[in-house]
């Protein structure tokens, strides 16, 4: 894009700035508009679940503009800060939350190679950045100088730190199967029929997905794990003292991270932008050099991805409006006694499964092969070029460290 713009913009560096801005604006719009739509959706979904209509008037029949109207109202509201509050931290906290939530989108691919920045460690990057959201919450709770807020912050700190452990473990399982932490690669590996999705790879990945989703719900603070804001106990928890725009920024962050973890779930387990049927391949939209066709294929992929994300978010809403809230000790028990051991066991199980049956459950030795180092390798495992000239050397030099290691080491050598 920058190269394209360079032809038109006189100061050459402006092209980069404009390109960067366009990317940033695109992403921030996904978050902001996404939050608007999700808040509207949440109202509609909760309304329908509760046997009422939800918003019906603002902006036409379905209340499309309700969130916007609320946003306008929130902007005009007085921005209050308690007297004893720590001014700087109180003001910073919502933006920290929002930035953390927003930064996760940087590495989230919306379609094949449609990604802000293709990172080699995208999975961990997203998890790490989303985990930073907790700082905003803790600081907000502390800086508010309110006991209820402090309670909320303490709960959040304990909860999120604990849930990062099983969450990370669950995310590692698809990484293990794909052999890459690059989300684009992981998505590409699952193309074709829905049976190639990692959730159907083996029984352990299926279990892992549910553990992942539970932990993700907990780590983005959604009911039944919304202890940090538990309105029946802590008034409003960490955002008790917030009002107006700052308050709404907390909500943007919450919906932003809901979408992000759903997106991560879609890519890690549900094939990302690949539909259940390889329609884009039938239409000749995949692997084509024609830019228009490839754009069209990617666009369909993006719709697929969006649909999966929205489904994930709606699922979280459904859970929220159905279940009572857990108590703090029960939340910790769920994490430490159930999620972590299950995640660890399925990690082990998936490891063994991948070692013995690398092709997965439905299609043993499927044609798509394994991916190493971000490259798609066709052909069976181990790749043919692992038998490179230096395999012997590799074996010699890593004697005693096991077959698998020398094999992969040889493979590396062959590639380098």
């Amino acid at each position: 894009m920058a190269e394209f713009l360079q032809a038109y913009l006189a100061p050459w560096w402006l092209a980069y700035v404009v390109a960067a801005l366009v990317h940033a604006v695109l992403l921030i719009n996904v978050v902001a508009v996404g939050a608007l739509i999700f808040i509207w959706l949440e109202r509609k979904v909760s309304g329908r679940i509760q046997d009422r209509l939800g918003p019906t008037r603002v902006g036409g029949k379905f209340g499309w503009l309700q969130t916007l109207a609320d946003g306008l109202k929130l902007i005009t509201k007085e921005d209050l800060m308690p007297e004893g509050a720590d001014g700087m931290l109180f003001r910073m906290a919502p933006y920290i939350s929002f930035c953390a939530s927003f930064a996760g989108y940087l590495a989230l691919p919306f379609a094949d190679n449609w990604v802000g920045a293709r990172l080699n460690t995208a999975v961990f990057f997203i998890l790490a950045v989303l985990g930073l959201e907790v700082f905003g919450v803790i600081l907000a709770g502390y800086a508010s100088a309110s006991k209820w807020s402090l309670f909320g912050a303490m709960r959040e700190a304990a909860q999120v730190v604990s849930y990062e452990v099983p969450l990370g473990m669950c995310a590692v399982v698809p990484v293990l199967i794909a052999g890459s932490m690059d989300l684009v690669t992981i998505g590409q590996m699952q193309h074709g029929w829905f049976t190639n999705w990692f959730v159907f790879h083996d029984p352990f990945t299926f279990i892992t997905f549910w553990v992942y989703f539970t932990c993700a719900t907990a780590s983005v603070n959604r009911a039944p794990f919304d202890l940090a804001e538990a309105e029946s106990e802590l008034v409003a928890g960490f955002h008790t003292e917030y009002s107006g725009l700052r308050w709404s920024i907390f909500f943007m962050a919450e919906y932003g991270s809901m979408f992000a973890v759903s997106g991560l779930a879609a890519i890690l387990f549900f094939g990302g932008w690949n539909g259940p049927l390889p329609i884009t391949e039938w239409l000749g939209l995949a692997d084509t050099t024609n830019p228009v066709l490839s754009y069209l294929g990617n666009f369909i992929g993006m719709l697929n991805f969006m649909f999966k994300c929205v489904f994930g978010v709606t699922f979280m809403m459904w859970v929220r409006w159905t279940l009572p809230r857990l108590r703090i000790d029960q939340v910790m028990t769920t994490c430490l006694k159930y999620c972590t051991p299950i995640a660890a066991a399925s990690f082990l199980g998936a490891t063994l499964w991948t070692y013995f049956l690398p092709g997965g459950l439905i299609l043993p030795n499927n044609a798509y092969g394994l991916v190493r180092e971000g490259q798609l390798i066709d052909g069976p495992y181990p790749p043919a070029d692992a038998e490179g000239p230096s395999k012997e050397t590799a074996n010699e030099k890593t004697a005693g460290t096991g077959d698998l290691i020398s094999q992969v080491a040889g493979e590396h050598r062959g590639r380098d």
Binding site: W12, W13, Y16, D86, M88, L89, M92, L119, N120, T121, F124, F125, L127, A128, V129, G131, L132, V134, F135, I138, L139, Y142, A143, L150, A153, M154, A157, A158, V160, V161, E164, G168, G179, M181, D182, R372, E373, G374, S390, T393, A394, K397, T398, T401, I405, S406, V408, A409, H412, R413, D416
Partner: protein, 198 residues
């Protein structure tokens, strides 16, 4: 005019953030603000790691350091941040002493950092990105895939990888886990009596 080197530009950005917030940690006396600045400093450092091509280390810095250790630290700060402990002033003598020693140390280190010519500049066009995550994993398991072709015996040293340190760290973490659980275990105290440290 030369083209802006974006690597340098972002380096400058993150370096200023990291240094600025590190100094802010020293300057402020409010413990909660300190923790906050430390978070930002370490976050900026992870940006530096990304820039230096160490993706995995950068992500780990964010995940373990910023997301785990610092949350723990802030947790500890919040447990103990009460009244007089929020801002404890350092005596002027200590400050002068610290600044003097620190300044001297800084001069020494900066001199050392800028002494070697080969360190000052890098290749104008850095090589293509390398994926380091699986290499690091292999190295931790004892196979140095980046040194397979090394002929120089000095450079080839360390071929055995990091299997032993890796194991030691694992055991160490276990020990720490048990140790800190032991230290923070519930203790018994007599009502109205002295603390029983049993």
């Amino acid at each position: 005019m030369d083209a802006i080197n974006w690597h340098s530009f972002f380096f400058l950005f993150f370096a200023l953030l990291a240094c600025g917030f590190s100094l802010a940690v020293v300057m402020t006396s409010n413990i909660v603000h300190m923790a906050f600045y430390l978070t930002l400093a370490l976050g900026a450092t992870s940006g530096l790691f990304f820039l230096a091509g160490a993706d995995f280390v950068g992500a780990m810095q964010l995940l373990i350091y910023v997301g785990g250790t610092l949350v723990l630290l802030i947790f500890g700060v919040m447990l103990t941040a009460k009244g007089p402990f929020i801002s404890m002033k350092t005596s002027a003598g200590d400050l002068v002493l610290g600044a003097g020693v620190g300044g001297a140390l800084l001069v020494l280190l900066l001199a050392a950092a800028t002494q070697v010519d080969a360190w000052r500049v890098s290749e104008p066009s850095p090589p293509v990105a390398q994926v380091t995550a699986s290499r690091l994993g292999m190295a931790l398991l004892g196979a140095r895939v980046d040194k397979l072709d090394e002929k120089d015996p000095v450079q080839a040293r360390g071929m055995s990888g990091y299997l032993l340190p890796f194991e030691i760290v694992s055991v160490h973490l276990l020990v720490v886990l048990i140790g800190s659980a032991y230290l923070a275990r519930p203790k018994k105290r007599m009502v109205g009596g002295p603390v029983d440290t049993a």
